[in-house]
């Protein structure tokens, strides 16, 4: 490229400046650690207090809803046999069901005993396509 060196230098500075500003000012919003429930149960102190995503299966029979409200739930999720109590304070998605997989966003209480969440993605395998093995 036959551009003058000064032009190139200015361009390089602008690009480097813009990129480093964006990266340095990045507060990590939108990037969350994603862990399975058993890891949280095993070492709660590693996770307490921070916003994380936790993946697990809703334990059948544990869903309770606060009377008179429609956005205040308690239930337990499980993975690898470990259970984690959840307090969920928001509306649940259509796919939320016992035995279904959920990914919750929220914080673990300081004592590690409960996961407080207000954001849920619920995945129901049958929604898009059945597990192929289930029918054979």
């Amino acid at each position: 490229m036959a551009l003058p060196i000064a032009t190139k230098a200015v361009l390089a500075l602008v690009v480097a400046g813009a990129v480093s500003y964006l990266v340095l000012a990045d507060d990590g919003e939108g990037v969350l650690e994603y862990v399975y429930a058993e890891k949280v149960v095993a070492s709660p102190s590693d996770y307490a207090g921070r916003t994380i995503k936790v993946h697990g299966t809703v334990v059948p029979g544990t869903i309770r809803q606060k009377v008179g409200s429609s956005g205040d739930y308690t239930f337990e999720i499980e993975s690898e046999g470990e259970r984690l109590a959840v307090h969920f304070t928001n509306m649940v998605p259509d796919t939320f069901a016992e035995g279904g997989e959920v990914v919750l966003t929220g914080q673990l209480t300081e004592d590690g005993g409960r996961f407080d969440s207000d954001e849920m993605a619920a995945k129901c395998p049958s929604k898009y396509e059945e597990e192929p093995m289930a029918n054979r």
Binding site: L11, E33, G71, Y128
Partner: protein
């Protein structure tokens, strides 16, 4: 013979025919034998014939409700309307791969038919590359994902039906449209590879593929629009784009095809960027394969993905590796032929603006791909480190993570605004070098209007810096487009007296590529205008009982009661919400929840909205209790959102004007 066995046999024939076609074409090119080459071309047509036959078999199986075929049983039932039975063809993984093969062979046959006189020397290579791609997908169908696989025992008598969420107008056309865009990119790729193999790397091959690239780009755009509309109207979270991996997969080749459509002009004009252009074609094609892989293998956690399947992942991985090695190997081998004739002379030239445009679009593609795949990459690393602790134990892959929309938005917003600025600046710069006097003449009007558009919203109490920057750049770019049209019209009228409209349509018809391109840019400006509205979005969740009201921005939402209705497919609960402005009822929204009898545990959320040019009032019902009347609602005011759809339509209109470009017309700027 049953449909199932006939279908499986046809797939086997597609596979074998592709091998024969590749063989004939390669041998024909090597021995310079017109007979063998012609044999390859006929083989390509025959493959299409077979794919069409297999596709009609599967459609027939759907129509006749042949539930002995697993795929048919999984994705349809006898009660489904006729239309959905046909579209169920591509409703699942196996069928969509067959659909891939059908489209791919169709496009291949069309492209070869159109070009076989003009680019005789390229044809055998084109046929060989296209058939090798067919071979891969036919192999997938044959060995991993046979859509005709039957139930051997316990043949079911009823089907499971298509997921109700997918039984939606947009969803019928969203996947095939993205598919059309994806699959048609194989044609430019095949021509690019043929040009490299045969050493005919002049601009000719690009003339014949430019329209294919534009065609792909149009269908990718339509697919993305429909996906956005579907999300907006069907999912009920008030937005249209959440950087979901599947949507991103459609966006990646969109970025690189836009880059190509611009940079190809530099090659035509100045003989520069040959390696770059052919690389963009390779990358675009590769991204379509990556996109198919991401969407179809479930490798990235996503609501769309079709379930985990590691065989499929490895096969796709190997295929992509072959493409990379083969394609870039050819580029490196042919580098001496690809040397540039021209040189960049000034940063104030159109070439340079196009170059920056290309860098930015490629950055967008790399960023989106990286951010989409990063969590999966970390997970793979964790698995590898766990499996081979001795060799890889020193690596700490870190925790798995999720990258959400705020992260994407943070980086894509400045990239998008930089591109919007270039949209305005690029067309005003001259080729080679722009003089100072010219700069003043070109930029005074747009700058003044742009500044005015930045300041004016402040008086409407709009203070988000991103929003203001976006409005300002929209104004700037809008004015450049108006100015170009205005000058073009004045010029035509000075040459020959004619009406305003006549002069304008003359511009669009005579210099289609240039003015069609401006119309596309106008659409982009309108879309950015719509996106700017996002900065003032209002989002509320609330519970209302019949009779209660809720203040939402300038509106009042009044709950007028619940209705329960049913039809043969589902039971519906609908809320009547009056929308009041200044005490007057302007509309009644009817958000609903539908319970399909077939999937009673998964009610769907039916959105209702009050649309105006300025904003949407958008309501979706999250939960409802009939005994008490409690209705849980998500309410949104989405300012300017409809300008996004309008902008997309304008953009497509402009693209259609460009498609009409005749081959001889490459030089109209």
């Amino acid at each position: 013979m049953t449909i199932a066995s006939l279908g499986s046999l046809t797939i086997l024939l597609i596979f074998l025919m592709s091998i024969v076609t590749v063989g004939l074409s390669v041998a024909g090119a090597y021995r310079r034998s017109p007979r063998l080459i012609e044999g390859g071309v006929q083989g390509l047509y025959a493959t299409f014939g077979l794919a069409a036959f297999a596709s009609s078999l599967i459609v027939y199986a759907f129509l006749s409700g042949d539930f002995s075929i697993q795929y048919v049983q999984h994705t349809s039932d006898s009660a489904m309307p006729l239309f959905y039975k046909i579209t169920a063809f591509w409703g699942g993984l196996d069928g969509s791969l067959l659909f891939w093969v059908l489209l791919h062979t169709l496009f291949g046959a069309l492209a070869v038919r159109a070009n076989r006189k003009r680019h005789r020397e390229l044809i055998p290579h084109v046929v060989a590359v296209l058939s090798a791609i067919t071979l891969f997908f036919a192999g997938l169908l044959l060995f991993l994902k046979d859509p005709f696989a039957p139930y051997l025992i316990d043949i079911p008598t009823t089907g499971k039906g298509l997921n109700p969420l997918l039984q939606n107008f947009y969803m019928i056309f969203h996947p095939p449209s993205l598919y059309l865009g994806y699959v048609s990119l194989a044609v430019p790729y095949a021509f690019g590879m043929a040009a490299l193999i045969s050493g005919q790397v002049d601009a000719n091959w690009q003339r014949s593929v430019r329209r294919w690239v534009l065609f792909s780009w149009i269908f990718l755009s339509i697919g993305l629009i429909l996906g956005g509309l579907w999300a907006y109207e069907e999912l009920g979270w008030g937005g249209y784009w959440a950087w979901d991996p599947v949507e991103n997969a459609g966006l990646l080749p969109w970025f690189t095809t836009v880059a190509f459509l611009h940079s190809v002009m530099i090659q035509e004009r100045r003989g520069m960027m040959k390696v770059w252009n052919v690389s963009l074609i390779i990358i675009s094609f590769l991204l379509t394969i990556i996109g198919t892989f991401m969407t179809r293998s479930g490798v990235v956690q996503s609501v769309h993905a079709f379930g985990e399947d590691s065989d499929l992942a490895w096969t796709f991985g190997a295929f992509m590796l072959v493409i990379v090695v083969f394609s870039f190997g050819l580029v490196i081998w042919r580098r001496p032929l690809l040397r540039a004739r021209g040189e960049l002379e000034s940063a104030l030239s159109r070439e340079f603006a196009f170059l920056v445009n290309n860098w930015l679009f490629l950055t967008c593609a790399v960023f989106v791909l990286g951010a989409t795949m990063w969590p999966t990459f970390i997970e793979w690393m964790q698995i590898l480190v766990e499996r081979y602790p001795n060799a890889l134990g020193w690596i700490d892959p870190g925790e798995r993570m999720v990258i959400g929309p705020p992260f994407f938005n943070r980086y894509m917003r400045p990239l998008g605004l930089a591109l919007l600025l270039l949209t305005g600046v690029g067309p005003l710069l001259a080729w080679r070098k722009t003089t100072g006097a010219n700069l003043i003449k070109q930029f005074t009007g747009p700058l003044v209007f742009g500044v005015a558009c930045t300041i004016a919203p402040v008086f409407l109490e709009i203070d988000s810096p991103w929003g203001l920057a976006c409005f300002g750049l929209c104004g700037f770019t809008f004015w450049t487009i108006v100015q170009e049209f205005y000058r073009g019209i004045i010029l035509r009228r000075s040459r020959r007296p004619q009406g305003f409209i006549e002069a304008m349509s003359g511009l669009l018809l005579k210099a289609r590529r240039r003015y069609g391109g401006y119309v596309v840019h106008l659409g982009i400006v309108l879309m950015f205008f719509g996106w700017a509205g996002n900065a003032y979005k209002i989002e509320r969740k609330t519970q209302l009982q019949p009779g209660q009201s809720y203040e939402l921005g300038a509106y009042t939402i009044r709950h007028d009661g619940l209705r329960v209705t049913e039809d043969w497919q589902k039971e519906m609960i609908t809320a009547d919400l009056a929308v009041l402005k200044d005490g007057e009822v302007v509309d009644v929204l009817t958000p609903a929840r539908w319970w399909y009898y077939q999937l009673p545990d998964q009610p769907t959320t039916e959105v209702s909205r009050y649309m105006t040019a300025g904003e949407d009032v958008y309501a979706s019902m999250q939960e409802v209790d009939l005994s008490t009347g409690w209705t849980q609602l998500s309410l949104f005011i989405n300012p300017l959102i409809n300008w996004i759809w309008i902008g997309m339509m304008v953009m497509l209109g402009g693209a259609l004007v460009c498609v009409g470009t005749r081959k001889s017309e490459g030089d109209d700027d």
